[in-house]
Symmetry: C6
Subunit: 246 residues, 6 copies
Amino acid sequence: MAETSQEETSQPERVSTEIPGLDDMLQGGFFTETVNVVSGNSGTGKTIFGSQFLYEGAKKGEKGMVIITSEESKSLVREMKTSFGWDLKEMEQQGYISFVDITDPSLRLQKSVEIAPSELIKSFKKLVESKIEKEKPERVFVDSIEALFLAIESNYKLRTMVDDVFSVFRSHGVTSVVTVGTLFGLNDVVEYGADSVIKLERFKTGNTLQRSVYVMKMRGSKTINEIRVLNISDNGMGVLAQSPYL
Amino acid sequence: MAETSQEETSQPERVSTEIPGLDDMLQGGFFTETVNVVSGNSGTGKTIFGSQFLYEGAKKGEKGMVIITSEESKSLVREMKTSFGWDLKEMEQQGYISFVDITDPSLRLQKSVEIAPSELIKSFKKLVESKIEKEKPERVFVDSIEALFLAIESNYKLRTMVDDVFSVFRSHGVTSVVTVGTLFGLNDVVEYGADSVIKLERFKTGNTLQRSVYVMKMRGSKTINEIRVLNISDNGMGVLAQSPYL
Amino acid sequence: MAETSQEETSQPERVSTEIPGLDDMLQGGFFTETVNVVSGNSGTGKTIFGSQFLYEGAKKGEKGMVIITSEESKSLVREMKTSFGWDLKEMEQQGYISFVDITDPSLRLQKSVEIAPSELIKSFKKLVESKIEKEKPERVFVDSIEALFLAIESNYKLRTMVDDVFSVFRSHGVTSVVTVGTLFGLNDVVEYGADSVIKLERFKTGNTLQRSVYVMKMRGSKTINEIRVLNISDNGMGVLAQSPYL
Amino acid sequence: MAETSQEETSQPERVSTEIPGLDDMLQGGFFTETVNVVSGNSGTGKTIFGSQFLYEGAKKGEKGMVIITSEESKSLVREMKTSFGWDLKEMEQQGYISFVDITDPSLRLQKSVEIAPSELIKSFKKLVESKIEKEKPERVFVDSIEALFLAIESNYKLRTMVDDVFSVFRSHGVTSVVTVGTLFGLNDVVEYGADSVIKLERFKTGNTLQRSVYVMKMRGSKTINEIRVLNISDNGMGVLAQSPYL
Amino acid sequence: MAETSQEETSQPERVSTEIPGLDDMLQGGFFTETVNVVSGNSGTGKTIFGSQFLYEGAKKGEKGMVIITSEESKSLVREMKTSFGWDLKEMEQQGYISFVDITDPSLRLQKSVEIAPSELIKSFKKLVESKIEKEKPERVFVDSIEALFLAIESNYKLRTMVDDVFSVFRSHGVTSVVTVGTLFGLNDVVEYGADSVIKLERFKTGNTLQRSVYVMKMRGSKTINEIRVLNISDNGMGVLAQSPYL
Amino acid sequence: MAETSQEETSQPERVSTEIPGLDDMLQGGFFTETVNVVSGNSGTGKTIFGSQFLYEGAKKGEKGMVIITSEESKSLVREMKTSFGWDLKEMEQQGYISFVDITDPSLRLQKSVEIAPSELIKSFKKLVESKIEKEKPERVFVDSIEALFLAIESNYKLRTMVDDVFSVFRSHGVTSVVTVGTLFGLNDVVEYGADSVIKLERFKTGNTLQRSVYVMKMRGSKTINEIRVLNISDNGMGVLAQSPYL
């Protein structure tokens, strides 16, 4: 029979999401050592969410790690600089943020079409494990998870492998933000394995495009059960105490 | 010709669901020795339902067993402690609740991608059978069933195996709560095999997220034919004598 | 050229459905020697319908046979006793109702995953044929047909085999009630092969769950073209001369 | 280059549908030597339509042929007698109506699961050809076409074979009514190959089930572009000069 | 690098559609040497559109060619004569219209189920090419394209082959009207390869069936952005300067 | 660990879209060296968008390249001349615009059905790379991308190859406009890999067809969150400061 360890029952700490207004919706932020999925279509602001989570944490001295999984995530550094003036490079030089780019050829982990997808995920797990052990980040941001999992066609394998990857983060004591897009319904499976799910939406209302956010689930915590306006300004992302569809 | 045994026709007893307000909807609780499915999306409160069913039963001296089927169910003990102050660990130490974690390597039943899925289910049945015979629980909570069945691709096999697994619980005299998510429509098949189905929902109304509950079916019993508000407070889950969509 | 036999043109007799109010909708009940499909989701009352058809017939001295096709149908005897006080066991002892449980191992017809599905259906036909010839029931209730047919993946085979199984009932002069669920659209095919189709529904209206019934088709008879409320009380199922959605 | 024959350009004659009110919608009935598809769900009255087309024609001295393709169509003779008093048997004895039942074992054309479906259709064509040449009917009623075609899985083969079967009827100078159900969207393909398509519908409006009819297409003719009420009384089927949804 | 030839930049001429009111919607008719797809369900008037395009052109002395691809298109000559008095036979005798019937056995191009579908399309291209070179039509009407392409199951091949067939027409300087039905979404692919797309619709409004037309796209031209009523009278098809849904 | 280079953090320049009113919506135009997807159905104006982007750029002295991927894109030169008077030929002769037509047989890159689709894409990448290195365009317009990718059936390969092709453009410092249609949902995948996505729509409102445009995403930039009217006149395409659906 499985033994449940002593620390499982101690009161867990919270980590700020660094998104003004969102900690309130979560009654205090993410739990430490949990996997928190940010789910939304292309263009809803997932990358900004994760970058803000890391950058603002780093400013407070909490080490962060960005895990980049595909070509188009590589421009993240530049985009955050121009959009909000967040200098992730500088943070890297000061030792507060480290980068793991799994598309980097020197890592020999290229998303090759020739490699079996489950092999790629195993290599990914090993690489992430060693990087986390070396850099010891408190916060991890994966941008984004779907590039890894699109190759898995069996629902069962998919569910099992999401469990496996997420347990790497949990077992190393990091608090992670993992973004996932809605291509092919992959987010449905990823959300099932998460400790919390934040949903970002962008939709037409009349002739306007509006952003909103809500907490789809959060294990072990009460949450505010409202859909709220998500605002992006020169200072980054924030939740307004106001509802969309006005 | 099949003989129907004497006890099949005796008046069956009821077991409280331990969810305030729900026993009324079921006209007295679950029937003993039945399989009761709790069905809902990620974030609707299925784990809280099952934990409350076990914990409150244990407080009354009825032995319970939790069957954990995947990585993310493992944090259940901690979550129930922080959310509601339910100390399942303590209950375990006092002998009122036992844990079966099928992801525990020492059980040699790992959800390996390499094992044929029907073999896994056979092993699961055998393990559960021996654990139930050893621990003799009155209440069993499976969190959650879909991790087992996602690997089965034939509708026919799926239906047959759900029947098989459920008959293990029925034949050992336990009253069980089995949660199932709605990924890939798997819940449709699981619900067909159940003695009762409780549906949990969480949905947007305007800019609010609301929880509701209704009894989709209950074999051999009348039920209250209403959709009611499901409330989660610091004391756990309860049904309000009130309808949603206000 | 096919010859049509003399008796095909004689005026067919009617058999009461035993559901108060439903015979009126059918202008006098089912035709004798026909296959009557009762179609609906899990929890709509299909098992009650078939049991009432048999039990009330048996009370009038008409022999009945229940054909059980899956594990969860086995509790039918107990459920009817506790819900409505119908003692099918007693009826069996008095020789009015016989049971055929195809999941009974002694019949060597187990729904084994190893047996080819079309073989299973052939064995089922043979077994049912011999049981009907031995017991000579006037009424047969199959609960439920989908467990047999879920394994058939070709639309064509499915249609052909439904035809085959239904012709066993027709050719032995029994009037049968066959229930079918709506999993995977299987009911669409089964309904095409039936002489009549009764649809049972349970749906949300506002915050209430309501039951309704209508006659989808009845070959060779006029029917009342209305959707009516289906009521389940301590005495069983009945149709109200009243429409739902009020 | 293909030569078009002289008679193709002569003014085609009309054949009454024998459904009161429908000839008006078609501006005079079906064209002779055409294939006319009657399309609708189970229970919409397709068999009544075809039987009335044949029976009323036979009363005027026009020879008819019924082609029965599956078990459940066999009860057509009995149903028409009890519902409307149409004695197709008597018409057969007087030589006005002949029956071709392709499920008759003596024809050695059994819808065997073992025979390749395209072989079955070839045999069907040959059989129908020889029967038509022997009996020389003016009207043919096929009840129903989908049993033949459900086995064909390629869209292309399906389309080609519908073309082939329909050209048998056209080339032998008969005016045919072919019924088709809406299982698996098969009707879409069959309708494309037809000279005219009559749609029968039965739908819920409030708490009533209503029947309607409209002309979906008719090659070479104007039609009345209205949806009208279809009424079934003791005398058969008729179109009311009235619209449904009132 | 590809060289673009001199004549590509000269002002293209227009060809009247011969549908009163439609040239206005296209700002002057089709461009010469383009492929113009007419897309709509069964019964929307696609065959009338193409026949009118050819017949009225022939009356002005412009040679036309009809390409018939399936059995049911063969009755086109008779239908146009009876419906509108258009004598395509007479036009053929006067040398103004030629027919290519690819179902004609003497062409040895039978749509055989045995021939690989891509072979059939290659043969079709060759045949059409030689016929066009021999007859030198200015206008071509293909009724209809889907019979050729239904056999192609790969999206990629389908797209490539539509490109190939359309380039035969473009490269021989003919202006073509190609009809396509909406079976299996085939029209989506065909429309992508076309120079213009005219959509014909027939839909229920209340208890009436109404016809409408609009220009979905036209490369290189402005169009009137309105949905208009399509009227079919004894003189053929015409567009009313009026909108449907009134 | 991946090193992020110095220039990634410098302020990126903007390139005008040349569509009046659109630069405002993007807060200044596209970023240089990005891949900008223009997504919409057949007939929404994607080709005009890309041509205007190139032509107006060339008029200002910025070299452009058109990459043509299928037969029907070849008429682009003629269409732009007749519709708007844009003489791309003349621009080519003056050295401002170059053409790469991958359907040109002399390139030996024919979209052959025989070549494996991933081989075709590799050849495409190599060809485009060499052409860009030779011609050194500042602006590239691909019309359209879906012809290349329709052959890829695995979601994973598709995503990976879109990444690969887009990185060719990014790594050579060109600013590219890539059009994609909505066939088979291919656009969903292409949009995920893009730096910005502009959505063009054409839809029925009442009896009118209206054009609209909105910015679905733009990495690293604020955008105007409105749906606006897209107008096509004799001078080309422009965005009105006005919303559709009036």
